[in-house]
Symmetry: C2
Subunit: 107 residues, 2 copies
DNA sequence: TGGTTACTGAAGTAACGCCTTCAGTATCCC
DNA sequence: GGGATACTGAAGGCGTTACTTCAGTAACCA
């Protein structure tokens, strides 16, 4: 464990196209580091660096067996995002409720 | 209109801490450019640049009246995000369903 | 009208982030 | 054991991007 999973972390992680591609691949099926690197056209090293970010933001879980590291999608990060969105959506809607009341009173 | 609102765009927009701060302030109440810049401790110019990104990703809408530009939170961007998350969550869950079936057959 | 306020646009700088190379280490297979 | 495979870690290059300064323009106000 490297630290708490925050919306900030998840947004930053998914802000990068390559990392989104990795997450998309992994939501279909678990893959090794090499299996990820090949199609993406980048080095193993680059993939590992992305995986670090993705693990720290709760979007991916990895497990090394023998010499191959298997990577899977994880839901924690997405749940944190959903929560963040819900909170902000509700703040926004509360504003509209108040606006409605004001308009009603204005009559 | 500058282009289509994609999840890629929204993730990139919210990947930046300052832009998240702007969105958070605006979901509470509409604000002018100066009212945003002050508390953030950055110049008007910087704020305007962020607003451009936020508008293009459907997270903020702005309207200039006289010499003051008023900025408001918009839901479009968040909806696109929610859709992206839902899709990926369902891909992930489908994987688990299939895994269950395979385990059943294995008996 | 003249001064202040609010923003806009161009251009430069400095930091950050993605990716690479290279030099390991550990595991698998013959 | 020896060679191939799969990854790991440090260090550097380089392109992007967030922010700044400066020089405007437009609106408001006295």
């Amino acid at each position: 464990m490297k630290g708490k999973i925050t919306a900030a972390r998840v947004f930053h992680a998914l802000g990068d196209p390559t990392r989104r591609a990795i997450v998309e691949k992994l939501s279909k099926r678990p893959l090794s580091v090499s299996a990820l690197a090949g199609p993406l056209g980048i080095t193993l090293t680059a993939v590992v660096q992305h995986l670090q970010v993705l693990e720290e933001s709760g979007l991916v879980r990895t497990e090394k067996i023998g010499r191959v590291r298997t990577c899977r999608a994880e839901m924690t990060g997405l749940s944190v995002l959903e929560r963040w969105i819900a909170e902000h959506r509700s703040m926004w809607e509360r504003r509209f409720d108040r606006l409605g009341e004001l308009l009603d009173e204005a009559d």
